[in-house]
Subunit: 258 residues, 2 copies
DNA sequence: ACGGCCTGCCCATTGAATGGGATCGCCGTT
DNA sequence: AACGGCGATCCCATTCAATGGGCAGGCCGT
């Protein structure tokens, strides 16, 4: 009697997950260091059966969300970026801010970043880097925690009260000996930021880097983004506050203009 | 006898379309001029029944692909951009090229663009604009036809043979009296580009704008992108070729370096 | 108060998506 | 050359997630 392959009807079909969930998981499987993946590796990372992964990749390639390399490996497609960028309010903010950021960058000669609040993190939408400057630990489309980055603190200071409480309540991860992990201290800093209109974060994320950030307000005076500069610790942070504030004001003008 | 609502079992469920198709159509419904849409309008544009549209929007919002405005209208979410940008090979090219583009931009003082080949069009991944310069008719994430833009001609000249034939065969849309619509002329220009390493397009898209473009090659000497400058017609185009070529070479160095 | 419009929920219905297994092709090793 | 391992795709019976009319509640301008 043939036993193998006849062991009752095994559970087939259905996954208990929406297609969207899986599409997002597939996209999340790619990272800056793993930009090209085989279908197998991709399926593994996304937690999908090989057959399902294969089919999903084929579909996503057909719709331009993924692209196949010459060596059959898979990458994220440019069409996805196009769809995401074309009508994104955040990206149009970026585009408006660009000329100002360029000028600021030419002036200060260090990393210049534009970040927005997304969930419980800062998401950097633009970054003009200075080759010779302090270590690079952010990229475009990278995220940083709100309590340990200058942009993050600025955005948190002007965020809805419930988000502030949530962050203050949750554990505050430590990155260096200087990272602020005491909620009470953070709360005081946030009040200071609202009063002063800027913040200086010395070695919170990386012991040798200082971040300085100011808020950018939209036409309704709501804080929509933060501009920041990353400088080595030995540089006088105070000198950069005025140019930063001036840049923020120029971006605000361009936001209101058209 | 109640007639209404009893007229036999109406066809329900199923659409004959994959979820992905619809997700893409929803995203396509947004344009730079319509960045926020009501659920109703969105459903209409994407060709979806109201109920289905409502549910899809809810799902997509939950996964961060869309975001809801304060006034209940819908926008594209930043998370989508993040997923698209984080691991995109094209975007990392952009990031590498940025410092060079910045410098070039400061030097020439006109629109500077970085475009890649995508399907049968150029897709612009970066654009540094000059406020006072000629009319803006491209944006980031915008597309232009291959035969009528300087970047397009450069990319087409180095594209696979079958794509070249396809474009040469298809109708060549006319935008100005100067647009090249004769396949034979275009074919000759492509050969010239391969020989010269640059192209000048005078008034092909807009009667008063001239585009100048050069190719950027990756580590395998394959053309991966095109850098272009847009100048007013009365400016001497020739003067910009050398700086452009120099910029392209510097980008190529940075592509091969790490 | 009324009509138009937008929105989201309900729920019977069903076809699109599923995943185990078989197949095919490509390596490097025996 | 034959083998074994691996990765990718195909096949197809199975089934549940997605579907879309209908309906009700909310909002606005008239």
């Amino acid at each position: 009697m043939s036993q193998i392959g006849t062991l009752a009807t095994v559970a087939r079909s259905s996954s208990g997950e929406s297609v969207l969930e899986r599409v997002v998981r597939v996209l999340e499987a790619f990272t800056p260091s793993d930009r090209a993946l085989t279908v197998g590796e991709l399926s593994r990372r996304a937690g999908l059966p090989a057959a399902t992964g294969s089919r999903m990749v084929a579909d996503m390639v057909e719709h331009g969300l993924l692209a196949r390399d010459a060596d059959r490996r898979v990458r994220v497609g440019t069409r996805l970026w196009e769809l995401a960028s074309r009508a994104s309010p955040t990206l149009s903010l970026r585009e408006l801010a660009m000329p100002v950021l360029e000028e600021l960058h030419g002036h200060v000669g260090h990393h210049v970043q534009l970040g927005v609040l997304d969930g419980e993190q800062v998401l950097f939408v633009e970054r003009l880097s200075a080759d010779q400057a302090v270590i690079n630990y952010t990229r475009i489309a990278a995220r940083l925690p709100l309590h340990a980055s200058s942009s993050g603190e600025v955005l948190l200071a002007h965020a809805p009260a419930d988000l502030q409480e949530q962050v203050l309540a949750g554990p505050l991860a430590r990155f260096t000996p200087f990272t602020i992990t005491d909620p009470a201290v953070l709360r005081r800093r946030l009040a200071d930021i609202r009063r002063d209109g800027f913040v200086v974060c010395c070695g919170f994320l990386h012991p040798e880097a200082t971040g300085i950030a100011v808020p950018v307000r939209d036409e309704h005076r709501q804080v929509a983004a933060a501009v920041s500069v990353i400088v080595p610790n030995d540089e006088r942070a105070r000198d950069h506050i005025a140019p930063l504030a001036a840049a923020a004001r120029r971006i605000e003008q361009r936001l209101s203009a058209p």
